[in-house]
């Protein structure tokens, strides 16, 4: 298959919630292999854009293309098969499962879950489980999660849970990975780890990454291109050094900071 010219493309996306316009005519285009930053003050519509792409809140206007294919309005559960994976801003791991099972869940689209194969486990499901386990163990090694593998997910510290969610997204072997604030609540060391994982993931797996992040130092350091949203509108775009120096962006951030102070 020849490589598509663009990975993700949004064309004039509009999303309203009642009277509130969360996204106003947002367009962006991500080239394959890029780490693409998406930033903006709180409530500027970053998560809403991701929700539009992944089908949770389909846009009311505009189109979304993935590798040249129109995926506007697809159901969320069909998006994974296309090669898109995402993590959530607020952790969305499955309680009541071990860390390993949570990560195994990420292999779902590659497995054959059947009631009958479950009954005939030893002759049927086991082979599937073991084959996929190998893929999962690779990612566990990559993200250094060996020690917590068999712990119940509730007992794992928050910073690690973020990494586990990244693992769950990675094992699906997506081509586009969307990370919604993967470093929220992390200390400097954990942030550096996470940034390293993202860079390595792109290097080793040829991923395209859409990264939502509030830590501008990280965005400036690892993103190739970025877009800045403010009140649902795109106010700047380009390489981090240029976009972050844009007057409108500075005002948006200063403005929001002033509002917070008030």
């Amino acid at each position: 298959m020849e490589a598509a010219a663009t990975s993700l493309e949004c064309q004039g996306v509009v999303r309203k919630f009642g009277g509130l316009v969360a996204l106003k005519d947002v367009s962006l285009s991500i080239a394959p292999g890029q780490i693409y930053g998406l930033v903006g003050p709180n409530g500027s519509g970053k998560t809403t854009l991701v929700n539009a792409v992944t089908g949770f809140y389909p846009p009311q206007q505009g189109r979304i293309l993935f590798e040249g294919r129109d995926i506007t309005g697809r159901k969320p559960h069909t998006v994974a098969k296309l090669g898109i994976a995402r993590t959530f801003q607020n952790l969305a791991l499955f309680r009541g499962m071990s860390v390993l099972d949570n990560i195994m869940m990420g292999r779902h689209i590659h497995m054959r879950p059947r009631a009958l194969s479950t009954l005939l486990y030893w002759w049927w499901a086991q082979r599937d489980e073991i084959r996929e386990r190998e893929v999962v163990e690779e990612v566990i090694d990559f993200l250094q999660l060996q020690d917590v593998r068999s712990e119940p997910i509730e007992t794992v510290p928050l910073g690690l849970q973020k990494r586990i969610e990244l693992a769950r997204a990675l094992v699906a072997q997506p081509r586009l990975l969307i990370l919604d604030e993967p470093m929220a609540g992390m200390n400097q060391e954990e942030k550096e780890y996470m940034a390293r994982f993202i860079l390595d993931a792109r290097e080793e797996r040829g991923l395209t990454v859409l990264l939502i992040e509030h830590h501008m130092d990280v965005v400036a350091a690892i993103c190739d291109q970025m877009t800045v949203l403010c009140y649902g509108e795109k106010i700047a775009e380009g390489r981090p050094a240029d976009a972050l120096a844009d007057q409108k962006v500075i005002e948006a951030y200063l403005g929001s900071r002033n509002r917070h102070a008030a």
Binding site: T54, R95, M97, G106, S117
Partner: protein
């Protein structure tokens, strides 16, 4: 102590995923299986027929319902209706000359089909509304069964089950019927044990816990809830048929009314949602509690010399029984299985008490 985790190393993924990694648990299971198979030899026919047999069958039914409630997180207040469909279809099929094994399978399929149709309708709503729509299923099936003579054999009718034939051989002894029930129970238990370690079971739990997170990794939440209804109803239908053939040896509509549905739900909750061992505990407690409470109340009332009307006497055990269930919901929502787990955990880490979790 007897439980030891140290020194147990798994060198393959298959071994890591075995059902009972701790050797002592394995010995317990082997002992339980041997005791189960040989029960007819050491239990009196009375105990076998009126305690062991219904316990095994109800544990099967509780396991089936637990798949839906414990794993998929969907409540079902009409499970007795599902069992009734299984019982009635098996009986009619067997009377029409269909071999028992096949009748059991077809009964399961029919229950699954009807259960799933109701499930599909019920799944459009959530929580309390789901509970109410499954309740509606209970009443509709009840009504249909008692008002269609072709099914119930006329109002107030009792249909006798024909003799069970396995591979053509008649099974017409208490022990034989017990073993049939035990075999079905074993199959369902094996299935449920495996649910814990396959992508199928994980998908159910994922949908229960966070349906949006499940969706984004490619799990269709509605589909899996529906499949849970399908499989649970299939197994429920089979257990209903086994209940009719092996225990009652006859069917009447009264055997599958709402109180029976509530009983099944109680077994799952008291035993422990999402626990296999719990379904066995729950079935035992729910079956035994009324008997024990009845005797106890009778004894107590006589002991303190109260004279109560029979109606009140009949009600008190029910009240205590309701209190028991409320108590579990309040104090140990994870059920008897959790209590067992706590004890096991105590020994597992003994003497390092701080390592308990």
């Amino acid at each position: 102590m007897f439980y030891r985790l140290s020194g147990i190393k798994h060198v393959s993924y298959a071994a890591d995923r075995q059902l009972w990694p701790v050797p002592f648990d394995r010995y317990l299971v082997i002992a339980a299986v041997i005791l189960g198979i040989t029960a007819p030899f050491y239990l009196s026919p009375l105990y076998l027929g009126s305690y062991m047999l219904p316990w095994i069958i109800w544990a099967t039914a509780a396991l089936s319902l637990n798949l839906l409630m414990g794993w998929a997180g969907q409540i079902h207040l009409g499970f007795a209706a599902v069992m009734a469909i299984g019982a009635y279809s098996a009986i009619h099929l067997a009377r029409a000359g269909v071999p028992f094994e096949l009748a059991l399978l077809l009964a399961g399929l029919l229950s699954a089909l009807i259960g799933m149709i109701f499930g599909a309708a019920a799944l459009r709503v959530k929580g309390l509304y789901l509970a109410v729509s499954t309740l509606a299923m209970q009443y509709m099936i009840d009504w249909i069964i008692s008002h269609v003579p072709a099914i119930s054999g006329g109002s107030q009718a009792t249909l006798q089950t024909p003799v069970i034939r396995i591979l053509g051989f008649p099974v017409d002894s208490d022990a034989g019927r017990y073993w049939v029930a035990l075999a079905v129970c074993a199959l369902v238990t094996i299935f449920m044990l495996n649910v814990k370690r396959t992508s199928f079971g994980r998908a159910l739990v994922a949908v229960r816990e966070k349906d949006f997170a499940a969706a984004i990794i490619g799990v269709n939440p509605f589909y899996y809830k529906l499949v849970a209804f399908w499989v649970s109803s299939f197994l429920g239908g089979v257990s209903g048929a086994v209940l009719a053939f092996c225990y009652y040896r006859a069917v009447t509509p009264e055997q599958f009314h709402l109180d029976v549905s509530i009983q099944a739900v109680a077994m799952v909750i008291v035993g422990g949602m999402g626990s296999i061992l719990g379904s066995f505990f729950g079935a035992a407690l729910v079956l035994l509690a009324p008997i024990v409470l009845n005797n106890f109340v009778g004894w107590f009332v006589a002991a303190i010399g109260l004279s109560l009307s029979p109606e009140v006497l009949a009600l008190i055990p029910l009240i205590l029984y309701g209190g028991l269930i409320v108590g579990f919901l309040l104090f140990e929502p994870l059920g008897l299985a959790k209590i067992y787990d706590n004890i096991r955990n105590y020994f597992l880490v003994w003497p390092f008490r701080h390592a308990r979790r």
